[in-house]
Amino acid sequence: MTKYALLIFKNLLRSKRRTILTIISIAVSLFIFALLVSLPTFVNQVLADTSSSVRISCHTKMGWDYPLPEAYRVKVAATPHVVAVATAVFFGGIYHEASDQFPSIATDPETFADVFSDWGLSGVDQFKKIKTACLVAQGTMRRFNLHVGQQIQIRGTLFPVNLTLNIVGTVANAPSQDFLIFRSDYFEEAVGNPHIVDIFWVKVDDSRNLPQVAAALDRQFANSSSETRSESEAAFVGSIFARVGIFLKVAELIGLVVVVAIGLVAANTAAMSIRERRGEIAVMRSMGFPSRVIFLLLIAESLAIALIGGALGCSAAFGLLKVFSLNADILGPIVMLRIPPVVLGEAMVVAMLIGLLSACIPAYSASRRNIVETLRMID
């Protein structure tokens, strides 16, 4: 076995330039493949994460410019199977510059932690006690280098008031990493009691009851001046991601094209390197190496090239996003993008297939070629 490995290694070094060029082109292609395919895979993962949720988003049917009356809360909370209700109002202010925006959301201090108990909240006790308290997502903390205990100013745009907030805690595990939540009583007081709500986040007792509760909520407010649209958290998040669906499709398509293109390139290289060695292969066979061994040797060689390229490309992509998430502020919302391990796996499988398939035909024909004729032709 070792002697075969050595032979494969020697063959790889035979035309160093070609081996290196092929490895680089495979690496570059799989680099871009991993990045592009991560995007849709990541979205699907977020959706899968929230699909088991027991939360409903009950929001206006008409548009974000048509908020719901806060008075709905009592009816929402009284609906059967509802465990807890937390309101959300988009304040949408600006921190320092216009480019420094992140969603600022006013919510119930008492119930927020119950509804979003899976979000990795810290500082909840303080949030319940201090009127100007706010909780900040980890990504935002990093982006602006904030720390717990700091006081920050948010300049209102939709609502012409400025907020002074005290950071009392963080949010670690939300689907988005870039937002801030503060107390709705502070919001109402600052803005002049508009009594509006953008979303009622409703927690139900069991996810099996979720469709039934959503239907009941919408039925309750049908034919009112503010009709609602209630959907599971997964459906809600999905409808938001579907808005960029075209880009996800294009990313997937390009990923596919890259794989086909790189397949062509690898097949070409394999064919070239095998063609050059026809004589040698004939000699080996006349010395008694069986066709099968020759075939496997050639395949293994191409596989080695593809896997080395794939490993390089994947680590580059992985490393790049690592660096980006450290310098989060450049990318804003894309901050949360990581390469899911499954994509790394996919990329390596693609590399393996490229290695196997590209060498298949030339290796097969080289291992079956008539020895005498080949030797005669080469000389």
């Binding site: 600006i94 001046s225 409808s239 398509l253």
Partner: protein, 387 residues
């Protein structure tokens, strides 16, 4: 003396399969480039600068779009008779207070689109002088009538001439379709300002004010006045500046597209290099013969460069043809949560085709450079002896 072009053309067919594979790889890269650029071009046209040089827009201070801006009736009253604002024949200022809102619509694949709806006055068309009704008529205020941009016709239920369109709390009648020579207005629904204020319970507030400048207006001092006057306290900018800010997102998208295409090009260059190195080493004796016939080293190098760019050029043409079906594909663009949904068509312009072919030739030249240099350095004696 240059090596005849015919030699390169014929050589490409000697190693048919290998060259076809390389060309296929390059063609796919070029196709991706074309699709990405067609998308950016389409998007560019939706945020195209359709500004008039004498139109300005007023927003709240420090906001980056109409959607997050809020202006009160008092502020409007304080500014509308400023002398730098143009008047019409009867002395009324050419001022268009506007509401810019968004309505949920179900888009493709369960997406929750934000259909932009604008509340404006009949007089607003004097400020928006590029808006033209292409079918139907202008809406009449107070009758729940709307006109729609030509890009959203048939894109959503009710979005066609003479249909009933349910938006917000009421049902509107579509009485006209308009165009604005490109730009985002063509993705919008336009309604009567007061009806829309009423429908969305906005009382008398606005999102933005557009106005025409008087011919002799001093823009700088007008901007200053609006910022400093405590009764106004707003930010005025030329419409052109506003569009420039709005296009920042598409500019970022263009960069992403170029980076993807660039990285793929890099892979294609290495692939082309491989093929050309193989071509050079397989033809060492031919090169020796050419040299012996009197062709100089520079002629040999040029010849190989011509060959690789020819290969890439042919691949480029194939790539453009592969990408052609996406031309005219209509799609919609959504930004983040609160951004308006813009409709646009993918556009393969002649500029993109030329860029794509140039892109292909660059791949060919870059991939052929080192192998061609090696070909140039082939020693005549050794090359011929080896045979």
């Amino acid at each position: 003396m240059a090596v005849p072009f015919k030699y390169n053309w014929k050589s490409l067919f000697v190693r048919r399969v290998s060259n076809a594979m390389t060309a296929g790889g390059i063609a796919l890269v070029v196709a991706v480039f074309v699709v990405a650029m067609a998308m950016v071009a389409g998007l560019d046209s939706t945020i195209k600068d359709t500004s008039s040089p004498d139109t300005m827009i007023i927003l709240s201070k420090g906001v980056d779009s109409e959607l997050t801006s809020r202006i009160t009736l008092d502020q409007l009253d304080a500014l509308k008779f400023l002398p730098s604002i143009k008047r019409d024949g009867t002395g009324n200022p050419l001022v268009s207070p506007e509401l810019a809102e968004q309505i949920f619509m179900s888009g493709a694949g369960n997406s929750l689109d934000n259909l932009p709806i604008r509340g404006a006055l009949p007089e607003s068309l004097k400020v928006h002088d590029k808006i033209r009704i292409v079918s139907g008529r202008m809406l009449q205020p107070g009758l729940n009538e709307v006109i729609i941009g030509k890009l959203i016709v048939n894109q959503y239920p009710g979005c066609s001439l003479d249909s009933d369109l349910v938006l917000g709390r009421r049902t509107w009648k579509v009485v006209g379709v308009f165009e604005s020579g490109g730009g985002s207005f063509e993705s919008e629904v336009w309604a009567d300002l007061h009806s829309l204020q009423d429908d969305s319970l906005r009382n008398s507030s606005f999102n933005s004010i557009r106005f025409k400048l008087a011919p002799d207006a001093d823009v700088a001092s007008l901007v200053q006045r609006m910022a400093d006057d405590p009764r106004i306290n707003l930010e005025a900018k030329t419409e052109a500046d506003y569009y420039k800010e709005q296009s920042a997102y598409a500019a970022r998208l263009r960069i992403v597209g170029l980076v993807v295409a660039g990285i793929m090009a890099l892979a294609a260059i290495f692939a082309a290099m491989n093929t050309m190195y193989a071509a050079v080493s397989a033809r060492t004796s031919e090169i020796g013969t050419l040299r012996a016939l009197g062709f100089g080293p520079a002629a040999i190098m040029t010849s190989f460069l011509v060959e690789s760019s020819l290969l890439a050029f042919v691949a480029g043409i194939i790539g453009v043809i592969l990408a052609l079906p996406v031309n005219g594909l209509s799609t919609k663009f959504n930004g983040v949560l609160s951004a308006p949904t813009l409709a646009f068509n993918l556009q393969i312009t002649s500029g993109i085709v030329i860029q794509a072919l140039a892109f292909a030739v660059i791949i060919g030249l870059a991939g052929g450079w080192l192998p061609a240099r090696q070909a140039m350095r082939v020693s005549v004696v050794n090359a011929l002896r080896r045979k």
